[in-house]
Symmetry: C2
Subunit: 500 residues, 2 copies
């Protein structure tokens, strides 16, 4: 009989969370000078998206944040951190971080769709299609989170792994269990990850007991989670509530109507932490047909969600593969966003999401890992798979116009994700006034698979090599809202040589 | 201006090669007892392919090798290494290695197609198609290996990285330069990697001066490389020569005829190290058309190679995407093998190799990384991409029959590759009498992305998690012919906790 690691050991109950404010002293490869202020100035290579078509690379620039982690300046006219401190008012005593020559700052990655309870199933169960996979793998695993202690064990490991892989913001699907969902919210807050979280709502179409007792119970439990999240994070600084109908085919009209009312009520409530919606849409033709069978009389899937008041600028829709032109028109009009899950869509042979067409319609698009139908929690992998799917569309059609360019992939993984999560005012790039959600990446290490060896033409090559060949080893520091929350330096993991 | 790492530092001129025979003492997580003999017995979980449809997992078994690294027994009836030593004649004093509970032995991975000189370009240049990529990236890079010192620097780093990623056998394409190619052969021998190596032959169709002076020069240089390889490794224990027409569109009839004669002559010579053929075929419709324009009158691409005597059981053909039924019939009849390069074919939008159809025709298939058109040197990545491409064929056609099963992916990465390289009598699985080319994999570490956490159903889950979520961090030891040549234990890289 196989005996894996014990649960306690595997999911890190014993591990201490990383401190919210960790000293940078002693981190290898980075020159840090501590001064009295908690303001910080970074100096070195800074890379982020200006638009879908433009990645901006500042070769030697400085970025200053205040003691709340808000970006106060990005300045490419100075030659050192000291010069930046002298030039910018209030930064005379700032702590400075000078990056190494093979390092760069990059915005935190944004995972717009991830199923937290499915985490243990990753890499397993790709034999069939979506229906078979749900019945054999997803439903029994999700149902098991009636055991809240299991949620505690799994989510602590998962959130830390997500952060180590650079996902500073994640839109999580949970299970049908309010208590387990609240554990997820607590865990994100504890480890300092920005997250959109809701309790999944399922009444029909599921197996292995993975459904709720009644529409009334489902609504009461969703409201309970919204209240809990607003209680632990009133300003929505990190954790934000969302309403989660699993998909149209799982939520009959009476519950969908109730969720629409809940959304409307909570959206109009006087709060700094507004509710969002996260749902699945048009993943497979069968699921679309099932939705129409359950919700008769709608012209399109989008019309159904829109009818119940669940479509708006804070709505995140996973997949959106088998859309009609009508769907796209309604989506664009309501300013909903799409989580493009290229890896899972390929693994389950769901189909190809036509990202170019979505962008041409003006629809917001971000990337999602969709674990465990996708087998990687890394948004770098999502970028590669999004590139691949766009290329398979080109192979399928003969039209190179489907291909996503590299600058577009960078945008989708950062700014696009921020837009989908309705957080583009706060994160996604290094705009002044935004929160400093950032990765300190080192592509000059010895013990990874990145071969930067001096033949690169320019700085863009360094970014491409990280995106296509890199992994969490390169992510030395992860900041959320200016706080150091993860990264290999924090864990003290061997770094190899970063050549100066 | 960007300044990367200096060449010297980046490509490891200063690094010592790993010793051919390294002590296992002190390797963490593995209990080793040294005795007088150099025979070895491993005990623990052993996984390999029995056939395309069957991965065999021996949960607790022992494997014994002699002092030349030949497998003398695989025995699942014993309960410990000591019991295996007592039972098998000649092993009373063998050195024993007992694997940890989250470890397993796996056959060395086989990369059936990799362009050594393109290594520095990895992850760069995916903007266009094959033609644009060759003109802008491949041709200038390959031409630069007229500088043999550059070959020395690049190939030392590359061979070590290939080994660390578990590729114990690689079929390398080189450049048009005999001296640089000989450096590649020397390097593989030095670091202990099994390799098929030839000098690339190009007369037309290339740019940036990346072609040879004449057919006579090309032939003389290829013969020079064959002689060199037979001189440094007469028995072909590790390094084997091959003849390398880049593709039909690069080698006009007079040179192709000369290569056919060289192959025939060298195949009939009295040697223990027979020559192989490695070439490209049917990568894009344009390349096929260019071949037909250069070699008029042939019914198919396969007929052309076959006409010149280059088709046989030791022929490796990269890509084979745009095949006709006639191509496949000739390929099956001549017992040639196909290197399926799913990653590069996707990156360059070459098309989908129809692996199921090749297998149904009885054609040998292995996996290739095809760096740098592919961006990963890991055959684990090739397995994922081969899975993906097979699923995109299912999406394209609606027929689930195109999907490659997990057992098939394992076979292609190991035994299939051995067959393609005409090495299936020697490597590919743990058959008695074969060379011990093996990886010691640990899927219980803390600092990777593999989440084995006790919810796995069986041992197969451990293998799937390594294949889909793992990387070189899990590869603790790499053996070629029984010699420890690479692996994270050898490099002393932090291992994290492997839970007992």
């Amino acid at each position: 009989m196989f005996r894996g690691r014990t649960r306690r050991e595997s999911v890190g109950d014993a591990a201490s969370p990383p401190p919210y404010t960790a000293s940078e002293a002693g981190a290898p490869g980075i020159e840090t000078k501590k001064k009295k202020s908690t303001r910080k100035v970074f100096f070195g290579r800074i890379i982020h998206s200006k638009s879908l078509k433009e990645v901006e690379i500042l070769h030697r620039a400085s970025l200053g944040i205040d003691d709340k982690g808000t970006i106060l300046f990005v300045d490419s006219s100075v030659a050192s951190a000291a010069e930046a401190c002298a030039k910018h008012a209030g930064f005379a005593h700032a702590e400075t971080v000078t990056l190494g020559p093979m390092q760069f700052l990059f915005p935190g990655l944004i995972d717009t769709h991830m199923h937290a309870p499915q985490y243990p199933n990753m890499a397993l169960g790709m034999e069939g299609d979506l229906k078979e996979w749900c019945e054999n793998w997803t439903d029994p695993m999700e149902a098991s989170y009636a055991d809240t202690a299991k949620a505690h064990r799994v989510y602590r490991e998962m959130v830390q792994r997500e952060l180590e892989n650079g996902s500073t913001t994640v839109a999580y699907n949970s299970s049908i269990h309010p208590d387990a969902t609240n554990v997820l919210a607590d865990t994100c807050l504890e480890f300092g990850q920005r997250a959109v979280i809701g309790k999944l709502c399922i009444l029909v179409g599921s197996t292995h007991g993975n459904w709720e007792a009644s529409a009334a119970q489902s609504l009461a439990d969703e409201a309970k989670v919204v209240r809990h999240i607003r209680q632990i994070d009133p300003a929505g600084e990190l954790v934000m509530p969302c309403i989660q109908p699993r998909a149209g085919s799982y939520v009959p009209p009476e519950l969908m109507a109730g969720l629409g009312e809940l959304y409307s009520r909570e959206s109009n409530s006087d709060t700094n932490n507004p509710v969002r919606v996260q749902a699945h849409m048009c993943e497979t033709p069968l699921e679309v047909a099932n939705m129409h069978a359950l919700h008769t009389g709608f012209e399109s899937y989008a019309d159904m969600y829109d009818h119940y008041g669940l479509f708006g600028p804070r709505t995140i829709l996973a997949h959106c593969i088998h859309l009609t032109e009508r769907d796209m028109q309604v989506m664009a009009a309501r300013k909903v966003g799409v989580a493009h899950n290229a890896n899972s869509n390929t693994c389950l042979t769901d189909g190809w999401c036509r990202v170019r067409e979505l962008l041409d319609h003006g629809i917001k698009v971000g990337l999602g890992t969709d674990c465990s139908a996708g087998y990687s929690i890394s948004i770098l992998n999502s970028m590669r798979q999004a590139s691949n799917v766009s290329r398979h569309l080109t192979i399928h059609t003969g039209d190179p116009g489907w291909k996503l360019g590299f600058d577009e992939l960078v945008y989708l993984a950062t700014m696009g994700g921020a837009e989908v999560c309705a957080l583009d005012h706060k994160v996604g790039n290094f705009g002044v006034g935004k929160a400093f959600d950032a990765l300190l990446v080192d592509v000059g290490l010895d013990d990874d698979n990145i071969n930067t060896n001096g033949f690169e033409h320019d700085d863009m090559a360094l970014l491409k090599k990280w995106v296509f060949m890199g992994d969490d080893r390169s992510i030395r520091k992860v900041f959320v809202g200016g706080r150091l929350v993860a990264g290999k330096d924090l864990k003290g993991v061997t770094k190899g040589v970063s050549t100066p």
